[in-house]
C-alpha cells in the first residue's frame, strides 16, 4: 500500500512539474517576443524586399513565403482580401523562404521578373499554377516558363538576370534572416513586428485587426 502511494505521488509530481514548466516557459516566451532584440528587428525588414501597398501604411505584414508551399498559396488571396478591405492601411513585405529543394531557383525567376517590374503578377501566376511546375512538391524551374507566358516578360533577359550574384545574395540574406527570426515553416507572418501566437488564419486576422485598431486610436 505504501508503495502505491509513493508511486502515485511521484507520478502526480512529475506531471505537475511538466505542466508548471510548460506554463512558465510559455509565459517567458511571450515576454521575450514582446521585446524583440535589435538584431531581430533589423532582420525583419530589409530594403531589398518586394512590397505591396501604400508605403506609409500603418500596418506592415511581413510574410515569409515559399512559392512551392501549398499553405502559402492558400493564404495569399486571404492576405490580399485583408488588404482590399482596408485600402492604404496595410503594406505587405515579402521575404523569401524557399525551404523546398529547388524552390530557390523559382524565387530567382521571380526576382528576375521583378527587374522587369512584374514581380507580383509573376508570383500570382506561379501560385495559381503551383501544381503545374511543382509536381509532388518538387519545384522544377524548367516547368515554370510556360505559366509566365502572357505577362509580357522578356525570358531571355530573365535567364541572364537569374544567375546574377545580386539575386543569390538577396535569397541568402532572406534565408539567414529566417534563421535569425526562427522561421522554420512557411508561411510565417509578422504583423508590425509581432509573430503569430500560433499558426492559423484566425490568429493572423486577429493580429491584423488589433494592429489596425491600435493605429486608429492614435
Amino acid at each position: 500500500m505504501k508503495q502505491k502511494t509513493l508511486f502515485i505521488i511521484a507520478l502526480v509530481s512529475l506531471l505537475l512539474a511538466f505542466v508548471g514548466g510548460t506554463l512558465l516557459y510559455t509565459a517567458q516566451k511571450e515576454d521575450k517576443s514582446a521585446q524583440q532584440s535589435d538584431t531581430q528587428r533589423a532582420a525583419l525588414v530589409r530594403m531589398h524586399s518586394p512590397t505591396l501597398g501604400n508605403a506609409d501604411a500603418p500596418v506592415v505584414i511581413v510574410e515569409f513565403l515559399d512559392p512551392a508551399c501549398e499553405t502559402c498559396r492558400t493564404f495569399y488571396p486571404l492576405v490580399k482580401e485583408m488588404m482590399a478591405a482596408n485600402p492604404d492601411r496595410i503594406r505587405l513585405v515579402l521575404r523569401h523562404a524557399p525551404f523546398h529543394d529547388g524552390s530557390d531557383k523559382v524565387v530567382a525567376v521571380l526576382e528576375a521578373a521583378r527587374k522587369q517590374g512584374k514581380f507580383w503578377p509573376a508570383l500570382e501566376a506561379l501560385l495559381a499554377a503551383q501544381a503545374g511546375w511543382a509536381p509532388n512538391h518538387t519545384p522544377q524551374v524548367a516547368l515554370v516558363w510556360k505559366h509566365l507566358e502572357g505577362l509580357g516578360l522578356n525570358f531571355e533577359q530573365m535567364r541572364a538576370d537569374m544567375t546574377s550574384p545580386v539575386i543569390a545574395n538577396l535569397i541568402a540574406q532572406d534565408l539567414a534572416d529566417a534563421r535569425t527570426l526562427r522561421v522554420t515553416q512557411t508561411p510565417e507572418f509578422f504583423v508590425n513586428g509581432k509573430p503569430l501566437p500560433s499558426f492559423g488564419y484566425e490568429q493572423l486576422k486577429k493580429l491584423v485587426d488589433d494592429a489596425l485598431k491600435d493605429t486608429q486610436r492614435r
Partner: protein, 150 residues
C-alpha cells in the same frame, strides 16, 4: 538457508521494488523532458533523437507494470529497450563531440544530429542527459535483477 528466511526475502523484494521504481522515475522524467523539448520548446528532434525516444518512452509505461505487483521479470523486458537506447545515446554524444566524423552520421536531411541546441552550464547537452538517463536505468535494472535472484 538464508534465502528461505522470510524477513531477508522481504527485504530483498523491497530493495528490488525500489530499484525498479527508481528506474521508472528516471524513464518518466526523461520522457516528459523529451516531450518538453519537442512539444513545448518546439525543438525539432533529429533522427537519432527519435531512435532514443523509441527506446525511452516504452520504459515509462512498461516498468510500472512490473511494480504492481512486483514482477522481477520486467527487467528482462526492459533491458532490451534500455541497452540499445543507451548505445544510440553514446553514438549521438560522440557525434556531437566530433569523435565520430560527420560523414558517417545517419541523418542528412532535416535537423542535423551534430547540431547542439541546448548547452547548460557549458557542458550539459541533450545527448549527455540521454546517456546519463539510459545508463542509470540499465544500472538500476541490473541491480534489481541481482537483488531478486538471491
Amino acid at each position: 538457508m538464508n534465502t528461505t528466511e522470510p524477513s531477508a526475502r522481504m527485504r530483498n523484494e523491497t530493495a528490488a521494488w525500489t530499484l525498479i521504481f527508481g528506474a521508472w522515475l528516471v524513464a518518466s522524467a526523461s520522457t516528459l523532458g523529451a516531450l518538453f523539448f519537442g512539444e513545448v520548446m518546439q525543438l525539432p528532434p533529429c533522427v537519432l533523437c527519435w531512435y532514443q525516444r523509441i527506446c525511452m518512452f516504452p520504459l515509462a509505461l512498461i516498468l510500472p507494470i512490473g511494480l504492481f505487483p512486483l514482477d522481477r521479470k520486467v527487467v528482462r523486458y526492459a533491458l532490451p529497450l534500455a541497452v540499445p537506447g543507451g548505445l544510440f545515446a553514446v553514438f549521438h554524444l560522440l557525434l556531437v563531440a566530433g569523435v565520430i566524423p560527420e560523414s558517417i552520421k545517419p541523418c542528412t536531411q532535416g535537423v542535423p544530429c551534430s547540431e547542439t541546441v541546448i548547452e547548460w552550464f557549458g557542458f550539459v547537452t541533450i545527448p549527455l542527459l540521454s546517456v546519463v538517463a539510459f545508463s542509470t536505468i540499465v544500472a538500476l535494472l541490473i541491480a534489481a535483477h541481482f537483488r531478486s535472484a538471491k
